[in-house]
Each structure stands twice: as C-alpha cells, then as structure tokens.
Amino acid sequence: MKSTPSDRAAAQIDYLLRIADSTLILGQRVSEWCGHGPILEEDIALANTALDLIGQARLVLGHAGRLDGRGRDEDELAFLRAEGEFRNVTMVELPNYDFARTVLRNFLFCSFLLRLWQALSASRDAELAAIAAKSLKETRYHVRHAADWTLRLGDGTEESNAKMQTALDDLWPYTAELFAPSTEDDAVVDGGIGVAWSSLQAPWEASVLPVLADATLRIPVRGAFLSRGKHGIHGEHLGRLLAEMQFLQRAYPGNTW
C-alpha cells in the first residue's frame, strides 16, 4: 500500500512519541529512587540519570507537539494524555523492584538508546539530529554507569549474582519489543528521518552480550512473548505510574511554579 504524506507525518509523530515516552517513563521510574538510594552517592547518580532522561523526553515531546500542529506542548503531552496514548516500550514501565533490576534495565535500555541516538544524529530532521547529538553524551555515561554495576553485581557475591540473574530472566523477554518491526518505522526510514529499530538488534547484542557474559549471567532463551507498549497496549503498571506523575496537572489544570 502506498503511504500518503499525512500517513508519513502521523508515522513520524508516532516514532517520536515512542522515543519521548520511553525516556519519560523510564525517567519517572528511576526518579523513584530519589531519597531511597543504597548510598548517598548512588542516590544522586540515579537522580542525575532520571533528570537526563526526562530532559531528553522534554526535547522530543516538544518537537513532536510542534510537528503535530494541534497546539499541544511538552507539558500537555506528558501530563494530559491517557494511558493508551503513551507509546513507551513496556520494559520501562515495569516497577523498579530492586537495585539490581533498576541498573540492569538501565543497562539494557540505555544501550539500545545509545545505538538509536547514534543513528538519529544523521537524521534528515535537523531538530531530531540535534537532540540526538546532545543526548548521546548523556546516554554514553548512563550506559557506562549501568554496565559498571551490572559487572560488579553479576560477578559479585552469590547473593548479588542471584539478584542480577533473576532481574535478567524477568527483563529479557521485554527486550524483544525493542526490535519488533513496525510500519511506522518503515515510513520514517523511507523519509530519511529515522532508523528502523529492528536494524539496531545486531549492534545492541554485540555491545550487551559480552558485558552480560563478563558479569557471569546466563542469557535466557527467547520465547514467543512480545510486549506491545509502543503500540499503546500497556501492562498493569503504567496506569498507576501516570496517576502519580499526572496528578498535579489533573487536579490543578494549568498550574505552574
């Protein structure tokens, strides 16, 4: 089927929302550690990461809102959309559970994000390319920080290894969604705007698998499970996260400080 210009514009906005919402929701999750980190230094490190992710989300949401042309700004998109309108991958909405799972998810997702920002730095969408170039440096550090903990905890004590292995067993099935092909991807690839997420699987595995091996973790076998958060079909956890994140704007519309 031939796509029309308006199909392509809709696909581009959808593509941007997947990135923006994934970074926003992960930022919101990681921010839950603020005041609860295992040590003060790590507490600040996680808060830094959360704010970087939310900063990336703000830039992409703002850009998506302007392209969309319906007058929705970053705040309206973040705080006034309903659960089914969010396009984040399911992996990032899962609860933190513990520190092991938090750093492992950061490692798995931010390693993906690193490849994505690298590719998008060459986008024909100049604003997206600029956002990608800025975000790349932040993400490089997030990967470094998370990879460091993955190694230390995976190749650590019996207890830390067991927690990391449980985290990997639980999170691994959700990584399939990152690389599942989609029609929106095809449309933005045609326009030179974006990169197909499916094409990032090989480079992602090449960077992630050696670290997991060094961390003495067993890679789970991939099953048929495929989460569909990026299509707006979410698990049970996103609604509660949004209830907390959106409370203020819902209760006091237009409020600022």
Partner: protein, 101 residues
C-alpha cells in the same frame, strides 16, 4: 602517634576528591565519597561533585593514603613564621617600568 584504621563504610574506603575547574590550573579539594575502588570513586565523584559544571578533571585519593601534619604540633610547625616579615619580597624598590608584580 597511633595507627588509625582506614575510615570505612562496611568494607568501602573513604576517598578524598579533588576537582580542577574549567579555568583552574590546580585540582582543589572539594569533599569525599565512599567507594570500593578507584574507578567507582571517580564515577561517584563525577555524579556528586560535577553536576553543576564544577569541573573538567577529577583526582581521587584514598583518605588513608594522605599523611597529615599533627594539629597539636601547630605551635612549633607554623607559629615561628609569624614574625619573619622579611621573607616576603615587599622591601624591594621596583623600577617604574615593572608594573605588574
């Protein structure tokens, strides 16, 4: 003086952190972090002490590797310098051409 055990949290050592600012020439002491090794001390120092563009270079030194002068020895160590004003180069007459000293 008695030997002090290295300051620890659990098994983690205390590291003193020195930061060189963007325009600075020297690393200045800015605080300390707890970390199990040097690599993590640097990483934690980055997250704790350079969030507001404070620096472009970090040194981490294990606190128990720093040898400090004895505070009780201050009188004999430092007081004798108090009345040696002639050690400051302020008694030379400079030629007019030399203006920025």
């Amino acid at each position: 003086m008695t030997e002090h055990a290295p300051p620890c949290v659990g098994q983690w050592s205390l590291w003193e952190i020195f930061i060189r600012s963007r325009n600075g020439l020297d690393h200045k002491h800015c605080g300390s972090v707890h970390a199990p090794d040097a690599a993590m001390a640097l990483q934690m120092a980055r997250d704790v002490y350079t969030r507001r563009m404070e620096g472009v270079s970090i040194w981490a030194v294990r606190a128990d590797q720093i040898h400090a002068s004895d505070p009780d020895a201050k009188p004999e160590m430092f007081d004798p310098a108090d009345d040696k004003i002639y050690r400051h180069p302020t008694f030379y007459k400079l030629p007019d051409e030399v203006d920025s000293i």
